[in-house]
Symmetry: C2
Subunit: 84 residues, 2 copies
Amino acid sequence: MGNSVEKTDFQIAFGRQIEKFRTEQNLSYRQLAQRCDIDHSNISKIEKGEINIQLSSVLQLAKGLSISPKELFDFNFDLGDVIS
Amino acid sequence: MGNSVEKTDFQIAFGRQIEKFRTEQNLSYRQLAQRCDIDHSNISKIEKGEINIQLSSVLQLAKGLSISPKELFDFNFDLGDVIS
DNA sequence: AAAAGTGTGGGTTTTTAACACCACAATTAA
DNA sequence: TTAATTGTGGTGTTAAAAACCCACACTTTT
């Protein structure tokens, strides 16, 4: 039932970044979706850390938010917590 | 024959970053592979921009190179060139 | 009140990367 | 010379992202 994919802390932190930039710009899921060619329902899942997106999607999100990919990763994250 | 995935400028630029950090630390593919749980042959492909890796792999690479994910994206890239 | 927009979740199909290998030529070290 | 290491390709399997759709309760706008 439901998700076979686990949420990782990194995915969740990344998702929060997307949400932060999206809300700063007063964009809805559907509006951002239109700008970056990602389905609005998937953007919801990305923000909640439910999917492990690819590099191409990172780029699309950066484009849709008009920021550099680097800024999307501008958050604190402890690499020591990475399991494998 | 060969690759179904096209190299994008972004993948290539990202790959160059990996190569830069890896060579700065005098690591071979196999040495980096050991540190980040990614097969050495795949690291070769990532550096050449041949694969569209996932967020989890970005994190593994950052961990293997002992740098923040943000630094991996610290390169110039013109979002205006993004097609879709 | 009606219409439009919102976040959210479900489901299906197609695409594709991760993964775990193997093989080999060239280089470097013993 | 032999052995080890390196970068580089190829392959088949499997899990999951991406793309697409829809539906619904709730809020905002008209």
